[in-house]
């Protein structure tokens, strides 16, 4: 009887097999085992949002997901979004707008913004504020992030 569980998950389109303890989080597995360090550990409690990734197409907190509980599911991290049109538009918009400073929250912001735009392709300022209230930023004061999300939205559904 081993202390680890064998789990197979698709990460950024590639099938990956893990042998993980029951209580290992997806965040730890992504960072420490796969060196996918774009998702960050800001609080390990699900509050700050820096660990946000997509799981089966839905934005989730990697720090609150157990790898062992993700058998057969599909994870998308910021590193796997190269071909994603929405992320590309958001990245360009974030850069132009100055919507990032230290950059630590940025991958999580981008994933959350992408999820928001999937639900609402033309969000108002207030809708962006509500949709992204779960991603903390200590550097920017948020207004350039809001501008960037709306600029990307405009570009995507032009």
């Amino acid at each position: 009887m081993s202390d680890t569980l064998h789990v197979t998950i698709k990460v950024n389109e590639r099938s990956v097999a893990f042998d993980v303890p029951l209580t290992e989080t997806l965040l730890t597995s992504l960072r420490d085992r796969l060196q996918l360090t774009g998702a960050k550990r800001g609080c390990n409690q699900g509050v700050c949002g820096a660990c946000t990734v997509m799981l089966d197409g839905v934005a989730v907190r990697a720090c609150l997901s157990l790898t062992a509980n993700c058998e057969g599911q599909s994870v998308l991290t910021i590193e796997g979004t190269g071909a994603d049109r929405a992320i590309a538009a958001l990245q360009d918009a974030f850069i132009e707008a100055g919507a990032l400073q230290c950059g630590f929250c940025t991958p999580g912001q981008l994933i959350a913004a992408r999820a928001l735009l999937e639900q609402n392709s033309d969000p108002s300022v207030e809708e962006v504020q509500k949709g992204m209230s779960g991603n903390l930023c200590r550097c920017t004061g948020y207004n350039k992030i809001i501008d960037a999300v709306r600029t990307a939205a405009g570009k995507l559904h032009a």
Binding site: K40, P107, N143
Partner: protein, 770 residues
């Protein structure tokens, strides 16, 4: 000014944007080394206790444990501290706050390291705990029994639990109050605020084959890390190399050491690389926070509103170690007069050790606290005199030849413009203000401040590579505020080359010129001046080469855009940097290197005007200014205040990069809103009660107004590089007072204690005791 600028003044996206949006930026937690160990810390459970001994047997026996360090691994004299050297790398002989690092373990995995740390037995003998400055100052129990023997960089006057005391005075304060028609006195209190950079503190220490330490860490100064590790481990600086990965915000938390000396000691003992990343809880409990201030402010004025006298007395909670506290006391007092003409001033205060987490550098460095007091009281004075609060301020602000407190000259002063532009943009004087929503009260509030950007030392080196492009090496960390980009823009501008032809070197104590640190809003001004100086030296050498190549006098030459030197008025007669570089490398003169280093040298004090006792920094200056109007709504049911709109006008001398300046202003305002309305570290006895993001809340997208308007004012400072001064802190400093003033104007309630929680405002509105 001939041609317009190519780089300076441009809204260039920060140079490292791509890597950050693609998730490739490497922060300290993202660094891995083959075979590295993980470090974990055992924290003190007691606020004050002697350490009688350690039992490491069980911990050492755990499989996977490689090394353990305790206070016994550090020598008694090896203490660090920016102003007063009172701190070892780990608690030695005594613990002084709950959460203090007592021992550390390096093990194969983080889980093993943490389990082993918990298996360390420490024999404590509890001592009485002193949890407030008042309690500590009255007690015969001393937190630092040898405080009088500690090395100090200034006349601190340390005694008992008094860590330091400082006083500034100008004129004759008693006469000033006698000459006043009205005298106002109030007391204010501010709380401990946590930095909450999204990235917790961490370090990675390794030992190279020569036995030299290499330390990567989340830090605001590779040079402070190097110095502190040298002091704490008792090893020469030549044996320590400090580097920096990308940094996930700092705001003062990472200016002085956190776990670097501990990680370094583990790496030396285990002879393996050791990585140690703090959890969010440890970051709250173990590092540092903003000083709680108690402020008594007494201001005398003439009936026509002329300011006559101001006395400010402060009492600071130092926490368990001095850290940057003497500086915060001194700087806070220096700012306590505000950027106003007061013929008679006395600002004095004490800093007292307590058995709590050390308090240290935090954006604003004492200025937000004293500005709360001064700017709130001025509004009340205006009300009493029947004057508009902005008019009262305009009447008294520094202008022309007026000096800052102490006698500092102002090399530029855009304060009046800041006030007017914030006032006009907000519609302050409008007869028809925006009405409050149903069930709310609403009003505008105003406050202003001055803040410095010049202190201590910076250097820069610019080299021309073989292909004629340039390398800029400054030793100044970009902590997210954008200095890599801004300094590169200055270098590109000075040499008239495209920005992409400047390579920016990451700070490295082995190769970079000294920079005290990225703090105190100083990098644009101090390091920028060094960059401009270094580029000027390079320009001189380029012209020397070109004069030989073109056979003309150096005075006849000028730099032209694109990277070339040409004869003035004869643009066809030019030599490109590439040609010059070839010649310099292979033929004559030698590779072109320019450098400049300087230390801010304008004295804080003009002894003919002011007197000081316990001045922690003798040379400080270069004032930026800010004025802010906030539009605040207060909910009549809950008392909750919300900032709906804000206009922050900041005099930055010149905006080298307006996009990044806006970002700093907005970020400062947001952090100021958190400080003003919501954030508070709460102690339950000796223990921090809310060391998590569940319990300690910072503003989300919904607490910061989208309509946050940064207004850039440019006063073209005579001494700043391209006229630029700092912006990092001015956005934050006046925010709490502005919000307090808005709440007063909306509800009639004047609050004297931060944060202005809904509870406090509601109690105020109901007239119940706070």
């Amino acid at each position: 000014m001939s041609a317009p600028f190519e780089s300076v003044g441009r809204r260039v996206p920060r140079l490292e944007s791509r890597e950050k949006v693609e998730g490739r930026a490497q922060y300290i937690a993202d660094l891995y080394r083959t075979g590295m160990l993980h470090g974990a810390i055992l924290q003190s459970p007691f606020p004050h206790a002697r350490i009688r001994g350690y039992d490491l047997a069980e911990a050492l026996a755990m499989p996977g444990v490689h090394a353990i360090v305790t206070g016994d691994d550090f020598a008694e004299p090896d203490r660090m501290g920016a102003f007063i050297k009172d701190e070892h790398a780990l608690a030695k002989g005594k613990v002084r706050y709950v959460g203090e690092p007592v021992a550390a373990v390096a093990a194969d995995t983080e889980a093993i390291a943490r389990a082993a740390a918990q298996a360390i037995r420490v024999d404590y003998e509890e001592l009485p705990a002193l949890l407030s400055p008042e309690e500590a100052v009255a007690s015969t129990v001393h937190i630092h029994e040898e405080v009088e023997q500690y090395f100090k960089v200034f006349d601190a006057g340390s005694q008992g639990n008094l860590c330091s005391r400082t006083e500034f005075s100008e004129g004759d304060i008693e006469r000033g109050f006698r000459d006043s028609d009205l005298v106002f006195e109030n007391r204010f209190e501010t709380q401990a605020q946590a930095h909450v950079a999204l990235e917790p503190c961490g370090a990675l220490a390794e030992v190279d084959p020569q036995g030299r330490l290499t330390i990567w860490s989340a830090n605001q100064s590779v040079f402070r890390v190097q110095a502190c590790v040298a002091e704490a481990l008792g090893i020469p600086m030549t044996r320590i190399r400090c580097l920096t990965p990308r940094i996930g915000g700092a705001f003062g938390n990472k200016m002085e050491p956190h776990v670097q000396p501990i990680a370094a000691a583990l790496a030396l003992k285990a002879k393996r690389a050791v990585k140690m990343i703090l959890t969010r809880e440890e970051d709250f409990e173990m590092v540092r926070a903003r000083h709680p201030f108690k402020i008594r402010i007494r201001t005398g004025v003439k009936r026509d509103g002329t300011f006559v006298a101001r006395e400010v007395e402060v009492l600071l909670d130092c926490g368990a170690f001095a850290d940057d506290s003497p500086g915060v006391l001194g700087f806070g007092l220096l700012c306590a007069r505000g950027p106003y003409r007061f013929p008679h001033v006395r600002c004095h205060g004490r800093l007292v050790y307590t058995n709590k987490l050390r308090f240290g550098a935090y954006r604003g460095f004492g200025n937000p606290q004293v500005s709360l007091a001064g700017e709130s009281q001025i509004d009340d004075i205006a009300e009493k005199l029947g004057m508009d609060p902005i008019e009262l301020r305009l009447k008294n602000i520094l202008r022309g030849d007026d000096r800052a407190l102490g006698g500092q000259m102002l090399t530029s002063n855009g304060l009046k413009e800041c006030i007017e532009r914030a006032r006009d943009a907000s519609g302050w004087a409008s007869a028809a203000p925006v009405p409050a929503s149903p069930g709310k009260k609403r009003a505008l509030g105003f406050a202003l401040c001055g803040h410095i950007s010049g202190l201590l030392a910076s250097g820069a080196i610019v080299r021309i590579l073989e292909d004629g492009t340039a390398v800029l090496n400054v030793g100044a960390n970009d902590i997210g505020q954008g200095s890599d980009t801004v300094l590169s823009q200055m270098c590109a501008e000075a040499l008239k080359i495209p920005l992409e032809n400047v390579a920016f070197v990451s700070p490295d104590t082995d190769g970079s010129p000294y920079n005290w640190g990225t703090t105190a809003s100083r990098v644009t001004f101090m390091t920028g001046r060094a960059v401009v100086g270094a580029a000027a030296e390079v320009e001189k050498k380029l012209k020397q080469q070109a004069s030989e190549m073109l056979e003309c006098a150096v005075e006849d030459l000028e730099l032209v855009p694109g990277g070339a030197v040409a004869v003035k008025g004869v643009p066809e007669k030019k030599i490109g940097f590439f040609e010059i570089a070839k010649r310099s490398h292979w033929f004559a003169g030698g590779p072109i290197i320019g450098s400049h280093s300087w230390v801010y040298d304008r004295p804080t004090l003009d002894p003919k005007r002011a007197a000081a006792i316990g001045l922690p920094f003798p040379r400080i200056g270069a004032y930026s200014f800010s004025a802010i109007v906030v539009d605040v709504e207060v909910d009549e049911v809950t008392g909750a205040a919300e900032v709906k709109r804000a206009w922050s006008a900041c005099d930055v001398g010149r905006a080298i990069n307006p996009l990044l300046v806006e970002g700093q202003i907005a970020g400062g305002v947001a952090q100021g809103i958190g400080f003003a309305l919501v954030e508070e570290m709460v102690w339950d006895g000796a223990r921090l009660a809310n060391p998590t993001l569940m319990d300690y809340k910072i503003p989300t997208t919904r607490e910061v107004p989208y309509e946050l308007h940064p207004i850039i004012v440019e006063s073209h400072d005579a001494e700043g590089p391209f006229g630029a001064k700092g912006v990092g802190e001015v956005g934050l400093v006046p925010v709490p007072a502005a919000i307090g003033n808005a709440v007063k104007r909306a509800t009639g309630v004047r609050l004297f204690k931060l944060p202005f929680t809904a509870e406090r405002i509601l109690r105020g509105m109901l007239g119940t005791k706070q």
